[in-house]
């Protein structure tokens, strides 16, 4: 119990550092760019236009509002991939600091996740714009959106903690992970209907934790269905398990970071 009180106290003490680091991340990202924060919007929109031109004729019959279908998957995947990829560098690029001064190291990884999550929230405006422009119907179940965003946040946070730890010891993990992300993208039914996957390969979607978030998010935003209870549970469980693994691995290895930086 005492240990948790101490954790809480240091978190409180360093909470301001967390906010400063998040602000620094955001400022850095948009520094020197003329359109600044607008890029978080324009990027997914341009991406969507290209993908729509390429794929909409291909899947025309099975997907009726292709831009919305695409964005609901693309934005969630974009957040997960960018956040986890950036996390791999988070500890290494702060080596200078970690070697000189004591700070709780998870603050560095956490600030990266939060900054990326904020970019993600901004990019969701692109989805709103497209939904309005295409007059997409909206159902009451859209109120479930925060649930998916929060569970996805914790899922990504756990993965980020895990990856930032591992990359300290194995620097070339980054290259492998880039390939892995490409595979993950194709296995997440972002720009094709999930139904086109033959039954015997359907398990790929089931074992892909990210797909459950995309499927749930799509159900409430794109289809306007009520979310399945099973889906809600799976997302919750994935978030909790990911956080647990992330925290345990990070906690166990963090004292050794300094020897490898």
């Amino acid at each position: 119990m005492k240990r948790y009180i101490r954790y809480f106290k240091t978190f409180q003490q360093y909470f301001f550092l967390l906010t400063v680091l998040v602000k620094t991340d955001i400022k850095k990202k948009y520094k020197g760019s003329f359109l600044g924060v607008l890029w978080s919007l324009i990027n997914p929109l341009l991406d969507m236009i290209v993908m729509t031109i390429v794929f909409s004729t291909l899947f025309q019959r099975s997907i009726d509002n292709f831009p919305v279908y695409l964005l609901t998957g693309r934005l969630l995947f974009g957040f997960f991939s960018q956040c986890t990829k950036a996390s791999m560098k988070s500890i290494i690029s702060s080596a200078k600091l970690i070697k000189k001064i004591y700070i709780p190291k998870y603050i560095i990884s956490l600030s990266n996740v939060i900054a990326n999550f904020l970019f993600f929230l901004i990019s969701l405006v692109a989805l709103i714009i497209i939904m309005l422009a295409t007059r997409a119907p909206v159902s009451i179940y859209i109120l479930y959106v925060p649930y998916y965003l929060i569970t996805l946040f914790f899922f990504s946070c756990g993965v980020s903690l895990f990856l930032s730890t591992l990359t300290v010891f194995f620097r070339d993990l980054e290259h492998i992970y880039t390939v892995f992300l490409t595979v993950l993208m194709y296995a997440s039914a972002i720009f094709y209907p999930a139904e086109i996957i033959p039954d015997r390969f359907r398990f790929i979607l089931t074992i892909n934790p990210l797909y459950h978030f995309i499927a749930g998010f799509r159900a409430v935003v794109y289809h306007g269905f009520a979310p399945e209870a099973k889906n809600l549970l799976v997302c919750f469980a994935v978030a909790v398990v990911s956080m647990m693994i992330g925290i345990i691995v990070f906690e166990k290895k963090q004292d050794r970071f300094i020897l490898y930086l």
Binding site: T24, K31, K100
Partner: protein, 244 residues
């Protein structure tokens, strides 16, 4: 008697020196296949124990590679010892590397907040002390320009101002008593003396025996990771000099 502010109990720090650094999966496997994962152990510190009371001024002396910096890093919490335990009851402000937390892209003002936050201070505290820090650093004119345009002396001045104004319980100084120009040098040693007189606990590492003798009460003499002596500064310094 009061609880000591720092308790170091039987601390050993062991490093594993691999003959070549292995930090990629590829190399790891290659070496494992070749059965070539050789390590040798190196002890930076061996069974160090001592206590520091609140308000004491401790000097650390010893030749290069004696483990002085490792000891400071362990006290600051940057490293955890391999064996033994350390307890620190208070906040530590390291003057090891001034401005270690600076981000070159940002202005001096932004860096005051960044660095203050790194030292564990709140926004409220920094708002209150912002003016003081700027005034002390003598950089008011340049405070809004990015730190990358600062000279190294200016950076050190700003770093010193932040580290000394945040009022930690323990001040760790690693031979930085010569910061900036002559003027600032005088000012900074005066500031350190003032802090010491205020009763802040200080740990000073220096090769300058005169400085140690003048500024500290007790001195630790390290040699190859072992504590050779710990006692009144004048005695330990004498022994140390006799040894050379």
């Amino acid at each position: 008697m009061e609880n000591p502010i720092i308790t170091i109990d039987n601390v050993t720090m062991q490093f594993r020196l691999s003959h070549e650094k292995v930090n990629s999966i590829k190399e790891y496997f290659i070496r494992m296949l070749k059965k070539n994962l050789r390590y040798s152990d190196f002890y930076a510190l061996k069974n160090i124990s001592f206590q520091v009371q609140k308000g004491q001024r401790i000097g650390i002396i010893g030749p290069n590679g004696a483990g002085k910096s490792t000891l400071l890093r362990i006290i600051s919490g940057i490293m955890k010892p391999t064996k033994g335990s350390i307890q620190v009851n208070g906040s530590v402000s390291p003057l090891l590397e001034l401005g270690a937390g600076f981000d070159d892209e940002f202005s001096g003002a932004e860096n005051i907040y960044l660095n203050g936050a790194i030292l564990g201070k709140t926004k409220h505290f920094l708002d209150e002390h912002f003016e003081e820090i700027v005034a002390y650093s003598e950089l008011a004119e340049f405070i809004d320009s990015p730190v990358k345009n600062y000279s190294s002396g200016m950076k050190a001045k700003l770093g010193f101002s932040i580290a000394t104004q945040v009022e930690s319980d323990i001040l760790i100084i690693d031979e930085v008593l010569g910061v900036g120009d002559q003027n600032f040098k005088k000012k900074s040693s005066a500031k350190i003396k003032e802090l010491m007189e205020k009763g802040i606990t200080t740990i000073l590492v220096s090769h300058n025996i005169e400085q140690i003798r003048k500024l500290t009460d007790k001195t630790i003499w390290l040699e190859e990771g072992c504590m050779k002596a710990f006692g009144e500064s004048c005695e330990v310094c004498e022994q140390y000099e006799a040894n050379e």
